[in-house]
């Protein structure tokens, strides 16, 4: 079984890699299998990991409590609300009452908007301001003073670059230009970092083909 699985994995690997040459029937076959299998996998894992324990088991537990203990006060009944909202989502498939699916959609969007309004204000703004409040001049330490000054200038100019309601002209334009230079340094650093990790992924695949499958690399 394992050998068969290994051969399947290796052939599919080669099939996907053939895309580097050009789009071809083998790649298209692998792509179709990939999409179908992934959609099926995603639904099954979502069902067993989320839907089943959260909805089915909880509602079943609440019903069991009602039947055996005669007790209706059970928090688990609240999962019925989620179930109802979920069914409303499915009503999208019925054209005449499809507008009902806006309710669960609004629920999701509203909860996200409220939460992110606060969390981004705290993490992206407050925390970043706090981290950037650094002394420009540190007596006796020229190196740190210069570093802190560069950080301050970088943040200042970067923020100026993102101003939308003023044209980038004159001194303002100059600061914005410095800002985009700082941003390009960051993007270059990200790029450089990522190159190494992507190369290691390729090495992993080569190792699988030549080592695990063909046994040429020990």
């Amino acid at each position: 079984m394992e050998t068969f699985g290994l051969w399947i994995a290796a052939l599919l690997t080669l099939g996907i890699m053939s895309f580097l040459y050009k789009d071809n029937p083998i790649y298209k076959f692998c792509e179709s299998i990939f999409i179908g299998i992934s959609a099926g996998y995603w639904f099954v894992s979502l069902f067993w990991q989320s839907m089943y324990p959260r909805l089915y088991l909880n509602i079943r537990g609440a019903i069991s409590t009602l039947l055996h203990e005669g007790r209706i006060s059970d928090d688990r009944w609240l999962y019925l609300v989620a179930g109802i909202l979920g069914v409303m989502m499915l009503l999208r498939l019925v054209p005449k009452i499809g507008w009902i699916s806006r309710w669960p959609l609004s629920f999701i969007v509203g909860s996200t908007a409220g939460l992110y309004f606060i969390t981004y204000l705290q993490s992206n703004i407050m925390n970043q301001i706090r981290s950037t409040i650094i002394p420009i001049y540190v007596p006796g330490n020229l190196g740190i003073s210069i570093s802190n000054l560069i950080v301050f200038v970088g943040v200042f100019c970067g923020l100026v670059y993102f101003f939308f309601s003023r044209e980038h002209k004159g001194a303002f334009g100059g600061a914005a230009k410095v800002g985009i230079w700082f941003l390009m340094i960051t993007f270059g650093a990200s790029f450089g970092f990522t190159v190494m990790s992507r190369m290691s992924l390729l090495i992993g695949r080569i190792d699988f083909l030549f080592g695990t499958w063909l046994g040429l690399i020990k």
Partner: protein, 396 residues
């Protein structure tokens, strides 16, 4: 004689031996005093805190205190249970309980508890007096989050002010953005070539603000494509996003007065697995050969795969994301890139509605306030005024 000498020699040796082997009596440390129990502030009502005055033998006197043990009971006469330990030198302990009744660590609200502190020196200890009774209760307001509340109020004032000004007809200037200016040209190109437009919302869910920002842009572009009678294809990663995208595109076609040419199957679900989604979209790009590709939303490692394949297919590509790690790839592989906040500003650029321009102005004022805070903060830090730094300290 020899026997006597032997006894005289051996007895002291025996006495020395016993003296060395029996442990010396270690002195008991003095107990901590002034034990005070109180409700832990800014919590959900299931935590108590205890503070005490350090034992005189902690860091002074006999200097033999190694740790403090915190004990709790429901009444002074009941048996106390150990709740935790802190090293010597510390005089505060948060007794965090659970709110679940089934949990072993359950600490109910509004129930009195008593505390004692043990000053420990290896295996010996001394105990303090029993503390005052204290009960836990939840607060209505978390004082540690006041800086965030201030931020909410300030930003909301800016937003509402500029929205009001914009509604009154005040003209608000916005500088040109190359990525947005290229949209009309990009859609026009697709119309001339008779090829579709591909719009990729990214891997975000409907719970991502970047995706919601992208919906606004999608609506505008759908309206333009409807006016030009160009096909727009929207492959979706998430089912909820697909549902919202279908509503968005349909609304765009309605606004353009062309609901008859809207096709729901053009806004479809692919799969919810990252690289399978990419494989599907790549295949779509190579087969349909769209004239223009839009990548606007949340992207991760797949960004380069999408952008490069689109480049191979010969499409004009406009991208935008708030994921900083993916922007270099979009810059390298696409024609125009909206960097970070520009993605959120794009809807205002495309629609030019006063209300949207007003919030853009509020964002700019927000940045101005941040810059002022940074300048003042740098000066405060340089002159060691710690209070300014504390203004931005958020306790969670």
């Amino acid at each position: 004689m020899k026997k006597t000498k032997f006894i005289i020699l051996i007895i002291p040796l025996i006495l020395i031996f016993f003296n060395l082997s029996s442990p010396q009596e270690k002195p008991v440390p003095l107990p901590p005093t002034e034990v005070k129990a109180f409700d832990t502030p800014n919590d959900n009502g299931h935590s108590l805190s205890v503070t005490w005055k350090l034992s005189p033998d902690d860091g002074a006197g006999k200097n033999n205190v190694v740790a403090y043990e915190i004990l709790r009971a429901e009444s002074p006469k009941e048996e106390f249970e150990v709740r935790g330990m802190v090293p010597s030198g510390e005089n505060l302990f948060d007794d965090k309980g659970s709110r679940e009744k089934e949990d072993k660590n359950y600490l109910p609200s509004h129930k009195n508890y008593y505390y004692k502190i043990r000053a420990k020196a290896d295996n010996i200890f001394s105990e303090s007096e029993v503390s005052n009774p204290a009960f836990a209760y939840g607060q209505w307001y978390h004082t540690g989050k006041t800086p965030v509340l201030a931020g909410v109020i300030i930003f909301s004032i800016f937003a509402l002010t500029f929205i009001t000004l914009a509604r009154k007809g005040k003209k608000l200037y916005i500088r040109p953005l190359p990525g947005i200016e290229a949209v009309d040209e990009a859609v026009g190109r697709a119309t001339e070539m008779g090829k579709p437009i591909l719009y990729v919302l990214g891997l975000g869910t409907a719970a991502d603000i970047a995706t919601i920002a992208s919906f606004t842009i999608l609506n505008r572009i759908a309206k333009i494509t409807a006016e030009h009678r160009t096909t727009i294809l929207v492959p979706c990663y998430d089912s909820v996003v697909m549902a919202a995208a279908q509503e968005t595109v349909r609304a765009g076609y309605l606004e353009a007065g062309r609901p008859d040419i809207y096709k729901e199957e053009n806004v479809f679900f692919v799969t919810s697995m990252q690289f399978a989604y990419v494989a599907g979209v790549n295949g779509l790009m190579l087969r349909e050969k769209p004239a223009t590709n839009f990548y606007l939303g949340k992207f991760y490692a797949e960004s380069l795969l999408l952008a490069e394949t689109g480049s191979i297919a010969g499409s004009i590509q406009i991208s935008g994301t708030d994921e900083i790690a993916q922007i270099p790839f979009f810059i390298a592989a696409t024609d125009y890139t909206l960097i970070g906040e520009e993605l959120y500003a794009a809807s205002a650029y495309l629609g030019k509605e006063p209300v949207l321009l007003g919030t853009l102005k509020a964002q700019d004022w927000g940045k101005a306030v941040v810059i002022i805070c940074l300048i003042l903060g740098a000066l405060a830090a340089s002159f060691h005024f710690q209070f300014f730094l504390n203004l931005f300290r958020v306790q969670l």
